[in-house]
């Protein structure tokens, strides 16, 4: 039990490598920050899907709520990024907590479909309130102030990536601690056998509500990051496609491992960027093949596959 929480050399290497884009590929910084944001979103889904077994097809709901919250306060005159970010995360978390009362009532397909339905309802709600959200055209006039009043968001994306990476790292630390805590163990218990939980006196619904709210909050942070680093928010931030994509990235990397969420995001978005660069029209053919190959040959996701190789070497 102790083993799990120690930092391995791989992890340290990984986070150092995350700094490389600053020096080696500065022209890829915008992509890198988009990946960091998506990875944060994927981590939020991993917390509920990978660790608590809540499959969701509607998590963009919280991503979008966070994004709109940060965007709207900026449009209304408060463009300070860090406080905006925190408020957006809090907002998404509160909504997440409220929604969790519905979520914990259902399981399996019904659960997936309720998350999907709530996601669509939120999307339609945003569409129905153009005075607040800008409707289909998206929110106009977001201006994010420099971070600490010092660092302007620049065209190259230095500030954007640094900001996104810092938030990702902090949330990762929090999530890592969470999954290695007693609460993380309780979540694994729920995933392994919900039916047994009440019989050991566990308030598993309470656990589920808590993790759902935390996850929603992190998703909201990711959304707010997107709003702040790109100054754009539109309905797509709430869309079913975004909900589905994040699940795809997560499974691709491997669920139930935080690095799986990050790795899956990197592979998916880089593959997509490269394939689309080669052929903007048919890139998803390549993505489709990638997904199929991963399932056939790496049933535990790419990270699970790598972990097995490392284990064999030992």
């Amino acid at each position: 039990m102790r083993r799990r929480s120690r930092w391995s050399p791989f992890e340290i290497l990984f986070w150092l490598a995350a700094l490389l884009p600053f020096i080696l590929f500065p022209t890829y910084l915008p992509l890198a920050s988009q990946i960091a944001i998506a990875a944060l979103f994927a981590i939020s889904v991993d917390l509920i899907l990978g660790y608590a077994g809540i499959v969701t097809l509607g998590h963009a709901m919280f991503f979008g709520l966070g994004a709109y919250f940060a965007g709207v306060i900026s449009v209304r005159g408060w463009g300070e990024p860090i406080s905006g970010l925190l408020m957006a995360g809090l907002f998404a978390g509160v909504i997440g907590y409220i929604v969790s009362f519905l979520i914990t009532r259902v399981q399996h397909l019904a659960l997936i479909m309720v998350t999907l339905g709530l996601g669509f309802l939120t999307y339609e709600l945003a569409n129905a309130l153009p005075w607040l959200t800008g409707g289909t055209d998206g929110l106009r006039g977001i201006r994010t102030w420099p971070i600490f009043g010092q660092f302007k968001f620049d065209l190259w994306g230095y500030t954007g990536y640094a900001y996104a990476l810092a938030v990702l790292f902090l949330c990762f630390l929090l999530s890592r601690r969470l999954v290695n805590s007693s609460f993380g163990l309780a979540l694994r218990g729920i995933r392994e056998n919900v039916k047994r939980m009440p019989a050991i006196g566990a308030d598993h619904k309470g656990h589920l509500r808590l993790i759902y709210a935390i996850s929603a909050s992190i998703a909201g942070l990711a959304g707010a990051l997107m709003a702040q680093t790109t100054n754009t928010v539109a309905l797509d931030s709430l869309s079913f496609e975004r909900s589905a994509d994040v699940v795809v990235m997560l499974i691709l990397g491997g669920t139930g491992r935080l690095y799986g969420a990050i790795l899956g995001t990197i592979i998916f978005l880089v593959a997509r960027d490269q394939l689309a660069g080669i052929n903007p029209q048919y890139w998803y053919f390549g993505i489709g093949i990638l997904l199929m190959v991963v399932v056939l040959f790496m049933p535990k996701g790419i990270l699970g596959f790598l972990a097995r190789i490392v284990e064999r070497r030992k």
Binding site: F183, G189, E192, G201, A202, G206, L210
Partner: protein
Amino acid sequence: MAEPDIVLRAEALRKNFGKLEVTRDVALALPRGARHALIGPNGAGKTTLINLLTGQLKPDAGRIELEGGDITSLAPAHRVRRGLSRTFQINTLFPDLTPIEAVTLAVMERERTAGQFWKRLAAHGDAIEESFTILSQLGLADVATRTTRTLPYGQQRLLEIALALATRPRVLLLDEPAAGVPKDESAALFSVISALPSDISVLFIEHDMDIVFKFATRIIVLVGGGVLLEADPETVRSDPRVREVYLGHGHG
């Protein structure tokens, strides 16, 4: 007659599945420190009765009391916290957790520390200690860090009991704890059960009469959803009705 110290009491419990009356007007009183057996034909409603007592099922009528308090409409988890624990007829474990993890989880749920997401698991040293003690007590210390799904069946049955013990029960309901365990091992398992602290009351279901007669101090016979007889082993063994519907002619 002086009323013994009753820990768990059920009155006029009733449960129907559609037209089928699975539990009819069952009354039950389990004294402190009891080692009672619950026997009866297949489908008599034994598992159902345990499900009612522990809250997995809601009774259609009747009342359940634990240590004098009404728990009839309490959720299962709350009953467990009040000291009413059970094991399952078919293993209901956490296949990918290790025994030490599973038992620690149960301990922390009891201590209400399982929700502390900011604290490292390793920092809950007391809970880990305690669960290791429980596992040792059941002879599971050696396999404490193996994945549950790879354990032999008999040890999984023991883990069922370990999980129940981790909740610090005052009443323990065991549903065929030795099912699927080879004969020589099942006797060992029951020795462990009967050696539990004397303030824990135990009610177990079992079809192996050698074991029942050896370990039970009192036997409740359930037939067709109702209590046919509650008596000491000798009386039950020689009761013609029990022979007729349950024992057959093999056990004389």
